[in-house]
Symmetry: C2
Subunit: 369 residues, 2 copies
């Protein structure tokens, strides 16, 4: 019954043509699709059209008219209404979305759209590029290799989930299928909780600074690491946290429970128990590599470099010329000195050659992990 185009999802509509929508359009076109797009902001739509990924439409209805697949990539507050409209206007298309919290979007769609329509809704979350915004920064490469979660509803046709999974892979991303509540629970811990912890740590220290001038004079590298996220976009984050409020509150509760337990061990002076808590976390962290591709293990080297223009260029050139890929690099400045300290993470199987290359370049690497 379905045409080959419908099977391959060759005719695509993108609703919401900001960074993610326009990038998905470019990646889809790269893979051979024909893409129409619509955005309620005419300038955003025009910019996305100029970028070459999609043909601007005059309305949502016009954009989805011939679509096999509709991708809704609007801000989270507008997602469910656009999904419902697309399901109604394109009665044979698969409809997916890009919201970073799944359950509330799904609940609203299920409450509003006819059940027969919901069977074609395959909710999704392409996990990439959130710090940039606007179609002017769109690129097919934004989609390359990212984890793209698909979270079918109870009514979703498994065949549609599978077709979308194949399509996501075909445009260069890495599809992962899981239940919506599992997605929301996992991102609450590994994405939303770090943001909450960072912001709260910064707030705790800022209170201190407000009462005492120069309290942050003693704040060094570790503090900076943990509070870097606190400089993120407030509006974006409040929307996400409130959308995922139950799972985020549960994640904060888990975090507080563990903090409380560690606090009591410290207050009781139980050094052995504190030690074993830290040891378990260290082992877990060392198992978490910079990228899934090097999850087999990483090595971390500490190296001192002068704090001056060109110092990073020299050390990274030495490693690049030696063929060593840097998985992660962190600058740890001394509070105020003429030196910097760098932590270099490399895949474990290149640890030895990294050390040789660094030593050969006149550096004195210390292995931290």
């Amino acid at each position: 019954m379905a045409s080959p185009d419908r099977m391959a999802l060759r005719r695509v509509a993108v609703i919401g043509t900001g960074l993610i929508g326009a990038s998905v359009a470019l990646a889809a076109r790269r893979a051979g699709a024909v893409v129409a797009g619509w955005d309620r902001d005419p300038e955003v739509l025009a910019t996305a059209g100029t970028g070459g990924g999609l043909t601007p439409a005059a309305s949502l209805d016009e954009a989805v008219e011939h679509a096999d697949l509709v991708v809704v990539a609007t801000p989270i507050g507008a997602v469910s209404a656009s999904v419902v409209a697309a399901l109604a206007s394109a009665p044979s298309a698969i409809v997916t979305d890009a919201a970073s919290v799944k359950t509330p979007v799904i609940d609203r769609v299920r409450a509003t759209a006819p059940t027969a329509d919901v069977s074609r809704f395959v909710p999704g979350h392409p996990m990439g590029g959130s710090e940039r915004s606007g179609p002017e920064h769109a690129s097919a490469s934004v989609v390359d290799g990212i984890v793209w979660v698909l979270t079918p509803t109870p009514e979703t046709d498994p065949g549609d989930t599978e077709r979308l999974r194949v399509w996501v892979e075909g445009i260069g991303a890495r599809p992962v299928v899981m239940a919506p509540d599992r997605h929301d629970r996992l991102v609450a811990v590994v994405s939303h909780l770090p943001q909450v912890a960072s912001t709260t740590l910064m707030g705790t220290a800022a209170d201190l600074e407000a009462g005492e001038a120069d309290a942050l004079l003693l704040a060094a590298g570790g503090f900076r690491d943990l509070t870097r996220l606190a400089a993120s976009q407030p509006g974006l984050w409040s929307e996400i946290l409130v959308a995922n409020r139950e799972q985020v509150a549960a994640a904060i509760d888990l975090f507080i429970r563990r903090l409380d337990a560690l606090r009591d061990l410290i207050a009781a002076g139980d050094a052995a128990a504190v030690d074993s808590t830290f040891d378990a976390a260290k082992r877990a962290r060392l198992g978490l590599s910079a990228k899934p591709t090097v999850r087999a293990g990483v090595a971390v080297w500490q190296v001192e470099i002068p704090d001056e223009p060109g110092a990073l260029a020299r050390i990274t050139a030495v490693l690049g010329e030696g063929g060593v890929n840097i998985e992660d690099l962190q600058i740890v400045h001394s509070p105020e000195g003429g030196r910097g300290t760098v932590h270099l993470t490399v895949a474990a199987d290149t640890a030895g050659s990294a050390a040789d290359v660094l030593s050969g370049g006149g550096y004195d690497p210390i292995r931290l992990a």
Copy 2:
């Protein structure tokens, strides 16, 4: 009464010749001092002697015999006993230490040593170099520009504090005088609490991963930033946290109180209040620069680079050749792709030239802050 040498603290003894002790010896010798040293580990002492900073002595008594200044840089558990011994054996010397928690050391010294001796004890905390260990990595540069806190006791002679302050400055560090309990309270928030938060976040996520395979697949850059500290040395940290247990417990309590408040705002769906909490933290974080020297303000640029050997070399070379100093650099890998994203922090007054230099080098910088 006092000789010019005594006034200038030219004859120095270092007790505990690991990384910090041996580095202080090298910095003192560079500034013209004569340095004797002792360590209970003969190998550590011999290595420090070979390093050229100090002349090994046969005992603590012999090391301090002619000293104007004794610096105790042993592990924290051994500090107070060494301070008391040095005060007794060198009856006219100023004695200082390098322990990272001050109150318990001071309490033990005051409980053990005669009050007349305690007047010559000027407790200190040179804040640098904690990740390296061993005299083989010692260097005078370890001391250059670091914040070196001095925390006089109620009995400490103010003249001795001032002499030590001048001496610390003379060997290249940045002396800051404050009360011991203030030091311990500040480091509890800006140094010990970040360690606790990082370890606890990693523990929370590890629990999740234990129950569900690949839960950490969704963990991206923010999670990695916040858990990097969790890979620190467990033994070192349990000793410090237990030594500062009251202040650390109080800091954790403050942190939990703020977490609880934010949790309740999120659970109540109060997006405006969540927003203003995040906004306040963002402003505080942007005021905290990579180094006190650039506290006037920083700018953060996001740039995409290919994830391959040499990519960092190219971008850092471009900036170095353009005369732009990188205050901080963070690699934000996509979960599994061929690209990396880098966040570059520069002093605010070089933000424009950084952008010009990056654009001229073929990069497409996005300003984040």
